[in-house]
Amino acid sequence: MAKRIDIGGLNAYYGSHKAIEDISMTVEPRSVTAFIGPSGCGKSTFLRTLNRMHEVTPGGRVEGKVLLDDEDLYGSGVDPVTVRRTVGMVFQRPNPFPTMSIFDNVAAGLRLNGSYRKSELSDIVEKSLKGANLWNEVKDRLNKPGSGLSGGQQQRLCIARAIAVEPDVLLMDEPCSALDPISTLAIEDLIGELKERFTIVIVTHNMQQAARVSDRTAFFNLSAVGKPGRLIEIDETERIFSNPSVQATEDYISGRFG
């Protein structure tokens, strides 16, 4: 069941260095929100605070609130492991588990979190692979190793793995940057289908991709080198790309910097 995210006054640090400052925004359920901005402005850092992966980095620290349907992910007594079961993530480079078969990869999130019968698992794996548009290509070789697929297929496998646990939100950190245009198109189509079921947040370097895929877009920027990243503007994608309110957004969109 897709949920809504409300972020209030979020700061994230690496040790004593502040990476992002005072971010407040809302991510609507069952929609795709894109984060765009120049390199190093903190988009990926911000994304990782949404599923409490930022604190896995040594020295990573977060201040502020992230509310998932009004429940604070950073509240006292909240277990990060539970948060990550609810907010899934797909990474920039496909990373299927090398010692596991395709079936085991998709089932990993389920198997390692509870006990399921083989028949239940088969159904869920099939449903997830179909949801990731990979079923037809791998249904005959489910017990072959996951690392034997092409780059685009591996990334779709990682997406299947992430959606198999039925998260409420799916975070995608530049999912297509390591892929060729055909695979990118396949994944963008997939995102269009997945947004019916999940809330999706996607970080992308590619502005055209953000324009194609997202409903709302958020533009991040640094005020100067070494300063923390900030949220400059967030709005409907069409507005951002045709008539943005802030000059910096206009400059970035039209390629005057970036």
Binding site: N51, M53, V56, P58, V81, T82, V83, R84, R85, T86, G88, M89, F91, R93, N95, F97, P98, T99, A108, G109, L112, N113, R141, K144, P145, S147, G148, C158, R161, A162, V165
Partner: protein, 360 residues
């Protein structure tokens, strides 16, 4: 019938005799290194015989130096300085390789030739019970059992301890405790085996424990743990961090990530490390002498009574000094080397079997 003369071939023609310009130069023939080697050996042997030296090592050294000098000079004359230096470097690498490998090959060859004289089924299945030094009988069975049991017990204790220590150091340890553990593990890697033996001996004397296979196994454990920790640490560090992140992002707790994702990915290398550690301790003699006492009889119980072990047996037989005992010592040495070699092959086999597969 139409001809195809209407297709013009306007490609520029390359003359069959390309001009020789500033890019080409003379070169020595392909067989020149062998030629130099033959000439150098002939000269070297000739000079040594003339000077009255009879050691093959001296002949070898002189021939090697002559080979290096000859190839450098000839290449400088025929080709140029750079080629000469290149050839010199290649030659030095080859000579060093031979210098390193020839003694090993010689050792192996000698052991096989001397050891196989006495090695047979009888040798492997009988002990030295009731056999006097000069007799051409007796076997290594008691020593084999001793080695297998002592090494086995040491592995059962050291492998899990080493593995868990390495997991702590790589996955969890960040502070002063981790630094202290790393430091002490590094120190332990250099402990001489007799010191480990003395340590266990002092405990035995204070607690009044009798020598037994178990005591030897404990000393071997002390020697084995640092090796396992170090190699496991390196293998765990080789697992890419993105795998850990992928697993954590699925909501899998950290300990389960380590158990089900990190360790299986590294298991090939870890097994190899453990096998190599076993191979190292299989040949330790000093602690066994101190702690296990040695025996001529078969003792299958490592917790009680003196045992023997293969390295100890070799030393024992050497001390006896008879022809028959020398034969037995060589044969036991062959058994020990074969044991280590088999372990090595098994380790490689496991590493290959468990390696992350990339088949389609």
């Amino acid at each position: 019938m139409t001809t195809t003369t209407d297709i013009q071939d306007n490609r520029p023609r390359i003359s069959p005799e390309p001009a020789k310009g500033g890019l080409s130069s003379r070169a020595l023939p392909r067989w020149s290194p062998i030629g130099f080697a033959v000439v150098a050996i002939a000269l070297g042997v000739g000079i040594s015989l003339a000077a009255g030296w009879h050691s093959r090592i001296q002949w070898g050294l002189i021939s090697a130096l002559l080979f290096l000098a000859l190839s450098y000079v000839a290449t400088t004359v025929v080709e140029n300085q750079r080629q000469a230096k290149d050839r010199l470097a290649t030659s030095i690498v080859w000579v060093c390789f031979l210098v390193a490998v020839v003694p090993l090959a010689s050792l192996l060859w000698t052991t096989i030739v001397r050891g196989s004289e006495r090695l047979d089924g009888y040798f492997l299945t009988h002990s030295m019970a009731g056999v006097l030094g000069p007799e051409h009988s007796g076997g290594v069975y008691h020593a084999l059992i001793g080695t297998l049991e002592q090494v086995g017990i040491a592995t059962v204790i050291a492998a899990p301890l080493g593995l868990l220590t390495a997991v702590y150091l790589v996955e969890y340890g960040k502070g002063a405790l981790a630094k202290a553990v790393t430091f002490f593990v590094d120190v332990m890697t250099g402990i001489p085996s007799i010191v480990a033996g003395l340590f266990i001996l002092s405990i035995m004397l204070m607690a009044g424990i009798e020598p037994s296979g178990l005591m030897g196994a404990l000393a071997l454990t002390i020697l084995m743990i640092p090796v396992v920790v170090r190699s496991t640490e390196e293998m765990l560090k080789l697992v890419p961090n993105e795998l850990r992140e992928a697993s954590l992002a699925l909501g899998i707790p950290k300990w389960r990530t380590i158990l089900k994702v990190v360790l299986p990915t590294a298991i090939g290398g870890i097994t190899t490390g453990v096998m190599l550690a076993i191979a190292r301790i299989a040949g330790e003699t000093a602690p066994i002498m101190l702690l296990v006492f040695g025996s001529q009889l078969i003792n299958g119980n490592p917790f009680e009574g003196a045992q023997s072990s293969l390295p100890f047996y070799i030393y024992e037989q050497y001390k006896v000094g008879e022809v028959a005992s020398y034969d037995r010592a060589w044969a036991a040495a062959l058994v020990l080397i074969a044991f280590v070699m088999i372990l090595n092959l098994v380790a490689r086999g496991i590493a290959r079997w468990k390696a992350p597969k990339t088949g389609r």
